[in-house]
Symmetry: none
């Protein structure tokens, strides 16, 4: 049983995390705690009641983000879908988080060490699912003899490249614009 206070506290905590997500997505991780407080409609000090430091806020935010995105990704694995369907589903999930994800892959190296674990975790979930799908295709001998991690890293490399260099390829969402092209050609690459 949660007391009224605990419920209130968790609500505020969520408010801050939601705001931080939006602010970081829009401004990058150099956004200030003041901006986040304003976006969350709480006082500046409240942030530090819930999170002892900004780094801690970022870590908690990324943990939540990791869980959320992984939950989305898990739903993919249940069905017995084709490679094409899986890749499309993966991109569709990323589109939901596109702005934030873009910031994340760009600025990951300047974020606290623990943030990286979240990032690794997300990638390993995708890897796991991709593995399953590919293995099936491999049995049918349609996939080249290339190590799984290269197959996986090529895919992530390709879409991360398009995301980080968004400005070269699209005015709005690069994933929305180039989704089909990316999937089609990536499959061509890994197929015999």
């Amino acid at each position: 049983m949660k007391t009224k206070r605990q419920i209130q506290k968790e609500a505020t905590r969520k408010l801050i995390l939601d705001a931080a997500y939006q602010v970081y997505a829009n401004e990058g991780f150099s956004a200030t705690t003041n901006q986040i407080a304003k976006a969350a409609n709480v006082s500046h000090g409240t942030i530090f009641v819930h999170f002892p430091t900004v780094d801690n806020l970022i870590i908690c935010l990324l943990e939540r983000f990791g869980s959320e995105i992984n939950e989305h990704l898990h739903l993919l694995s249940e069905k017995d879908e084709s490679l094409e369907t899986f890749l499309a589903a993966h991109i569709n999930v990323l589109i939901c988080y596109e702005d934030f994800y873009k910031r994340l892959i760009s600025e990951i190296n300047s974020l606290p060490q623990e943030a990286k674990y979240v990032f690794i975790n997300i990638q390993s979930v995708v890897s796991l699912h991709l593995n399953q799908v590919i293995e099936r295709d491999k049995e049918q001998k349609v996939i080249k003899e290339i190590p799984m991690h290269i197959i996986f890293n090529s895919w992530l490399g390709l879409i991360h490249y398009y995301l980080t260099n968004n400005y070269l390829f699209a005015a709005g969402s690069v994933l929305t614009d180039h989704k089909d092209e990316l999937i089609l050609n990536y499959i061509k690459l890994i197929r015999k």
Copy 2:
């Protein structure tokens, strides 16, 4: 004929650029002018004698970096080398600048607009050469029917992915460690 003064001035300028290169490579582009001054062993004010603003310092540094790396790359095009040789040469060049290049591809979006042009320029030089090498192979029908820009972006995507996620793959230089594997498998991907 340069006067002793001019030589001295250029030496200091080089000192600052070299220091900035090292500091940015180690700390990322959020490093401060104070850190750079200390690394260059000059007073803080001296930086602003040579560069009116930090942004200008960054742009000059990137221009120098761009020229340097392009010079390296141009040497490649003169010879009639194989795809494998070219990719190895490309990686070898990047190894020389690995830490700095890693920061650059990560943080390019937070750098001044002019910095992006330098980055685009570097990439287009690589693209140009890769194009030549691939076209030759394409005539021999060994390359898949995939648009050139996808071929190019897959390569950059792959090595940028390994660079930005260095910590996943290697303790030291990820390019040194995975060079052969990357080249070998990338070629497998684009070949029929």
Copy 3:
């Protein structure tokens, strides 16, 4: 009802404005925010919690100063006093703010544009009252046929001259020392 917090905040704001008033009066408007912070016994950053920029601090200070001085001057108009009484009252008001006023009339041209409006406003209040008093005397044909603005500017010119050149005329307050002489002779000048 004000909360304790609001009271405290206003107190600090007043502390800063009071300190700024004193520091500017003593050192001129080239005094630094550090000096003001020290004089106010608050940390340097606190100044910028209350005033986004120095210019804003100066403008707020001048607005307060303008209100205060105008309030003093308004009290004069209610009575049906003689020219002599009015001029004496004007000088008496200025004596209260002498050091600050001296800096203001000296450095007005290097202050932000909005500061000038405050200054103009103060002068126009004086002008208004002087006008009323003079008009009465003019009806009695004791004042020369001279345009009102010249009458007004002669008065301000005279006392501003004594203020800016204080060091020529007095060790302490030039207005206190020369008040009677200035009034007496100014009246002689404008009377027939």
Copy 4:
């Protein structure tokens, strides 16, 4: 006999003083030594060969300015001119130096102590001549019974007031625009 070197040195010194005069007239005394060096077409360091500190430069500049303006004023006294002619001549002299003089009377209190002596000297020369002219008129009983220093300070007060508040009265030269009005009305004031 001056050596070639001495002649050259004096020429450079003059170059710097001329430039400083122009720069201070245009920008006020907060202009930097760099601006002056550029305007004088000499190197920054050269300024400090001729003047140990900026304050010393300002003092020397004001001494030269004082001599120059006093020389102009001295020419006035030789003739046996009327009060009106004298005041017109005074204003005409000031018009030659208007921008610089305006800065001087505005910023005199933030200039080094010695600068004030120059200013006092200029004023006493004007005072001397005005005295002579007025005394003549006084003998003819056309001037009011007012102490000479008040008569003098009213005049300076009036024109200084117009100069410091130039922006209230004119877009260009306030002395050129209001010269006749000022003289005419000032004479009205001091005449019986």
